[in-house]
Amino acid sequence: MSGLPEDYLSTPLRRYGMDHERYDWSMLPERKPVKWPNGARIAVWIIPALEWFPLNMKGQPFKPPGAMQTAYPDLRHYTLRDYGNRVGIYRIMEALTRRNMKVSVAINAAIAARTPSLVRECAKLGWEIIAHGRDMDHLHHGGMAEEEERLLVIDSIKRLEDCSGQKIVGWLSPAKSESFITPDLISESGLKYLCDWVNDDLPYVMRTRKGSVISMPHPIDIDDYTILVQNHHTEDDFRDALIDQFNFLYKESSPEAGRIMAISLHPWVIGQPYRISALEQALDHINRHAAVWSATGAEILNAWSSQAK
C-alpha cells in the first residue's frame, strides 16, 4: 500500500456552510414560509419528460437512466423509449386533462426536430415547456468546453421556443447531469429556474456569474423510472409512494407554509396500459383534498419569488 499525498488530509473548505459558493446553507424548518394562492397547502407540480435516446448513443461520460443496453443496434430499448412519445404520453395527457391538472413538460430539443407536432400539442394544452437539453446522449458534464456547453444550451432553448411559440423559463439537464458552470449558462441564457438539484423541498436561490437562478425541487425519488424500473416495485407501490408523499407533505404544511409535491414521469414507463391507473388513483387521492393547487413550475416559481425577500 502506498501512502497518499500529504495534502489528502488538507481541508481548505472546512468552514461554516457549504463547501462551494453556489448556494447558501439553509435549513427547511428555518425557511421563510411561502403561501400558495387561495390558501392551498400543496402546490402539485407534474413533470413528464419527453426524451430521445439515439440508437447509436455513446453513453459518455456515463450511460444516463434509460440508455441503450445491448450491443448495437438495440432495437428493443430504442423502440420502447419511442413508445412513450407515441402512445404513453397520450395516456398521460388524458389522465391529466380529465383532472384539469397543470403540467410542465421537460422536452429534449431533438423531439422538436423529430416530431414537432408533439411539442405543439403540449403547448396547445397549455403545458409549460421546460428545456431538457438536446437529447439523452448529449450530457452536460465537467469535462466539457464552455463554448460547447453554451451552444447546447442556447440551441436547445431556441429549437423548443421556435417549435412551441413559448418563452421558456425552466431547464432540466439530461439525466440531471451538469458541469461546474451549467447554472451560470442557464442564468446567462435568460432562464429563471433549474431542476437538477435534489437537496430541497422548496425553491432556493443559486448564485451564478451573472445574477441568480432558482433551483426548483424536481425529484428523483417520486419518479416512475426510479420506483417502477430501477426498484422493480409494483404499480400499487408506486401509487402508495405518491400517496404517502402527499399525505406527509400535507400534514407538514399549512395555508401559511406551503409545500410542493413534484411528480416526475416518463411516458415510456407510466404510460403502459397496466401502469397508468396507478398515477390516476394517486391523482384522485390528491385531488380529493381542497387545499391543493395544481400549477406549472413557472407559476410556482412566480408565487414563491413574489414572497422571497
Binding site: 497518499l4 489528502y8 472546512r14 437538477d196
Partner: protein
C-alpha cells in the same frame, strides 16, 4: 493478511448469558449518520468519491437534502418515540452545520466518529495520516459537543490494516465496523480493550433503499420482523438491535410515516432497553468482556 483475526470464535448458543439493565431483552439503539459529502474532494486511488464524473450534482445534492431537510423530520420522529440517537458523525459537519449538532445535543444524543468527511477514505493512509484523522475526530467532538469520543465507524466503511488497532490505542472503546454477531464481542487489538457493538447493514437504510431497493412500507416490516425475533431470543440472553439511518434517505416525505410506525412499535415494548452505542459498550465492558474473552477460542490458521 489473509485473516484479520479480529475476534475469537464463540458460538451463539455456547456463551455467557447477557443481562441488560432493567431486564431488557434487547438493547436497542438508533444510529443516525450525520454526514457531509464534498462536491469536489481529492481523489483516493482506491475509490472514486462519486458514481458520476465531477461534479456529480445529483448524488451530492441528494445527500445535502439530509442536512437541509431530512434530519429535521427524522429528529421529530425520534423525539415522538422517545428515542435518543447515537450519531455516527463526519466530524467536519461540526464546522459546516453546527445547528444540526446543537439540535442533537439539545436532545441528549451521543456522538461517535464516522471520520472527517464521507468523501475522505482511509484506504492508503500512512499510520501518521490515520492517527491525524483519529486525533482530529477526538478533538473536534470534544470541542463541539463536550463528549469524549468512544465509538468509531470508519468513513464510508474504508480502512487500513491498522484502523482498529489505532482506534483502541487512541482510547476509543467501541467499533461499529464488524458485522459478525448479534451481541457485543471483544475485538482483538494490539493494545487496549475494544468492543464491537452490533451495528447492522441489513437494517441500514442505505443498504435497504440504495442497494436492496425496497419500499418504505417493506422497510418498516423488515424492522418489525428483526425486532420481534431479537426480542424473543433476548429472553434467553440479551441481544442488540441497531437501526442505522441516513437523513437524506429516511427523511424523504414518503418514507417517514412507515419508519415512525416501526420505531414506535419497537420503543413501545416493555422489555426493550433504549440505549446508545456508548451505553451498550460500557455495560458489556464492565460485565461481560472478560467472560466472553475467556469463553472464546482463537480461530485456527487456515491451510
Amino acid at each position: 493478511m489473509r485473516d484479520p483475526q479480529y475476534f475469537n470464535y464463540l458460538p451463539y448458543r455456547r456463551r455467557p448469558v447477557i443481562r441488560w439493565p432493567n431486564g431488557g431483552h434487547v438493547a436497542f439503539w438508533v444510529a443516525p449518520n450525520i454526514e457531509f459529502y464534498e462536491l469536489n474532494p481529492p481523489r483516493n486511488p482506491s475509490r472514486a468519491p462519486w458514481a458520476r464524473p465531477s461534479p456529480d450534482v445529483v448524488n451530492y445534492s441528494y445527500r445535502d437534502y439530509g442536512n437541509r431537510v431530512g434530519f429535521w423530520r427524522m429528529l421529530e420522529s425520534m423525539k415522538r418515540c422517545g428515542m435518543r440517537g447515537s450519531v455516527s458523525l463526519n466530524v467536519a459537519t461540526c464546522d459546516h452545520h453546527p445547528e444540526v449538532i446543537q439540535a442533537c445535543m439539545a436532545h441528549d444524543w451521543e456522538f461517535y466518529s464516522h471520520g472527517t468527511y464521507n468523501t475522505r477514505y482511509l484506504f492508503n493512509h500512512t499510520e501518521a495520516q490515520e492517527r491525524a484523522v483519529l486525533q482530529d475526530s477526538i478533538d473536534t467532538i470534544l470541542k463541539h459537543t463536550g463528549q469524549k469520543l468512544d465509538g468509531w465507524l470508519s468513513p464510508a466503511l474504508t480502512y487500513t490494516e491498522r484502523t482498529l488497532d489505532l482506534v483502541a490505542e487512541m482510547g476509543l472503546t467501541y467499533v461499529c465496523d464488524l458485522f459478525h454477531d448479534d451481541q457485543p464481542t471483544p475485538v482483538n487489538v494490539k493494545q487496549g480493550r475494544l468492543v464491537s457493538v452490533p451495528y447492522s447493514l441489513e437494517m441500514n437504510d442505505t443498504i435497504v433503499y440504495n442497494v436492496n431497493l425496497v419500499s418504505p412500507r417493506r422497510y418498516a416490516d423488515i424492522l418489525r420482523r428483526q425486532f420481534d425475533r431479537l426480542y424473543e431470543e433476548g429472553k434467553t440472553s440479551g441481544t442488540v438491535m441497531c437501526i442505522p439511518l441516513h437523513p437524506y434517505l429516511i427523511g424523504q416525505p414518503y418514507r417517514l410515516d412507515a419508519f415512525e410506525e416501526a420505531l414506535s412499535y419497537i420503543t413501545g415494548h416493555d422489555k426493550v432497553w433504549l440505549a446508545t452505542g456508548r451505553e451498550i459498550a460500557s455495560h458489556f465492558l464492565e460485565h461481560y468482556y472478560d467472560e466472553f474473552l475467556l469463553a472464546s477460542t482463537p480461530v485456527g490458521e487456515a491451510p
